[in-house]
Symmetry: C2
Subunit: 395 residues, 2 copies
Amino acid sequence: EDCKKQEIANSTDPYSTDPPRHPALIVNSLKPFNGEPPPALLTDNYITPSALFFKRNHFPVPQVDPSKYRLQIEGLLGGTISLTLEELKSRFPKHTVTATLQCAGNRRSDMHKAKQVKGLNWGVAAISNATWSGARLRDVLYHYGFDTEVTAKARHVQFEGLDLDVTGTSYGASIPLNKAVSEEGDVLLAYEMNGEDLPKDHGYPVRVIVPGTVGARNVKWLGKIIVSEEESQSHWQQNDYKGFPPGTDWDTVDYKSAPAIQELPVQSAITQPADGSIVDSNMEEVTVKGYAWSGGGREVVRVDVSVDGGKTWHVAEFQNSEEGQKPELSPPPGQAWAWKLWEITIPFPEGAQELELVCKAVDSSYNSQPDTVLPIWNLRGVLNNSWHRVKVKVN
Amino acid sequence: EDCKKQEIANSTDPYSTDPPRHPALIVNSLKPFNGEPPPALLTDNYITPSALFFKRNHFPVPQVDPSKYRLQIEGLLGGTISLTLEELKSRFPKHTVTATLQCAGNRRSDMHKAKQVKGLNWGVAAISNATWSGARLRDVLYHYGFDTEVTAKARHVQFEGLDLDVTGTSYGASIPLNKAVSEEGDVLLAYEMNGEDLPKDHGYPVRVIVPGTVGARNVKWLGKIIVSEEESQSHWQQNDYKGFPPGTDWDTVDYKSAPAIQELPVQSAITQPADGSIVDSNMEEVTVKGYAWSGGGREVVRVDVSVDGGKTWHVAEFQNSEEGQKPELSPPPGQAWAWKLWEITIPFPEGAQELELVCKAVDSSYNSQPDTVLPIWNLRGVLNNSWHRVKVKVN
Ligand SMILES: [Mo]
Ligand SMILES: [Mo]
């Protein structure tokens, strides 16, 4: 429908079988495909339509025949388990979770502007919210013999994707065992997104959904699960997707010195108006919209918005999660996996020629966002959750 | 030994039976007693000696005869339970946890300096670390009939102290049920602190220890536990110990608008050198010491220190938790209940006449501290976790 097939250079291109993408996506990299929706579109929907959901691929999208798909599970007492897609769907209760995923590099472009970093130049929309359905990872692990005898040594659950780099190495990541098997962790082996089979770009036929945890651990095109004493030894777990100190550069970086990113910190951003846009001085007020979310299932409890660069603050209103419905009750503590969309209309000072709009969120542990980006700068440009600032002209 | 009895005005004074206190404590209020250790003493010990542990009392210290002590438990299916101290000690396994407690008002004085707030003028030492032993709350609740039938309605566990205000109302607070009964939550009905009976100021004979949670919920002189659908209706749960927005003043405050503080945000402070002290210019370097901690069991993974007001940053070294020992392995994710002490020696710029020392911590969810205090200002002066700044003169 709204999607169109990209031009394909030649048939030996490993990306030639990548799926079509929505033309509205802002492309940060074509091969591998990395794209985000325009900010103003992002917050039109509490549930992001799958075609507009940000796409972060490391390699070509693997082509998986569902009838030949096998999920391997290693590290349990009974030896390696091999599971068909049908078995995964039929043997375990289908569990549905609404969860926001965010790329560690979301808002990297603002960090890059302050001081150069290496990475895809994401704007504020490398974050999206969807409904995911699948088997609970804990149900599957317990079914195939996970028990306390295993737990005594195991500390991590590793995931390997079916997506491969040019040397044949698969994308890989791991999460702590206690997140993987906890009843409240809601970790899924998901086969549906927004009520349909997972789209190819989002991991068809099976991906891991680790609510509250950085996108990078939500491994797509899942091929293998390994219960282990060790973290994944992959590049993305050991070297990349870590938060290094602001004084560390590429000459001094010690990859072992920082922990792998798992839960993300509290975040928010303005999606409307756009930076550099013009507001009508006759309006005497400006409507600001955006999103807010925090990792680890911590609920966002407040969003503060300023039109004067952070000197004075106004509390934004949360939008109902579904148009016309009453606000939902808060989820249980530690299980707030989904973002909140917010909106506020603020009068601006008479005669103002420029406004600096700012937002910052507070989560249920009363963590807040740092004021500025340089003190959290890091060479890979990850974890930018400094106040989001947008300048608009009054005309 | 090092303690001395305070002068007592007269015997009708309800505070006349308060215990003696260590003379080194900085007293913020005498009746009720509220005191903190000098910052430079605070970080001399990984485990804070009980006499130096900050003391935060709301009322006179109740005098409890251990042989007459009864702990009431309400809200379970079997009706009210009444438990003697001996029963609590003998019926349940003794569990020991090293946990840091922090008052919501820690570092209030710096918030007050920026803009007036109402509350005790705590410095940086309304935080301390101790070893607590007692029965697990979950063991006690399950023993007396807590089960899923109760869970279906219950959401909170309320605590009432034996300390009373002038009208006879007891201090009270509550915590979410899932924290109270989770295996990893480590909530204790503690009867020992640092290997001895709880001191009178710290809740003798029994207090609640809720690791990772604001001091205010760690109810002392525990008289009653109530499993309930509702939060505690106490003043301290409903109105006080909440984080209101920076634009809210006493005329506009809506107590219902903010959630009760439970988990605290990431925190750190400098304990040496003291603000306003003088460092020798011939030294050409300055040694900075302090603590760092985060709520919710999130481990502090890094502390950054600056000698130039935050322009450049250096990574501090964590001290071993016990002198001469190897650093302990990290606790399981989500169970890092104890602070980390840190230290760093940093050369300062030649010719500098004043240094602005700054520290900020990063926790395992990569939350960090906000740069400045005014954007997190709130009328009660709680939750000040902005960068700690200390000015020293070079001479
Ligand atoms: Mo990512
Ligand atoms: Mo407190």
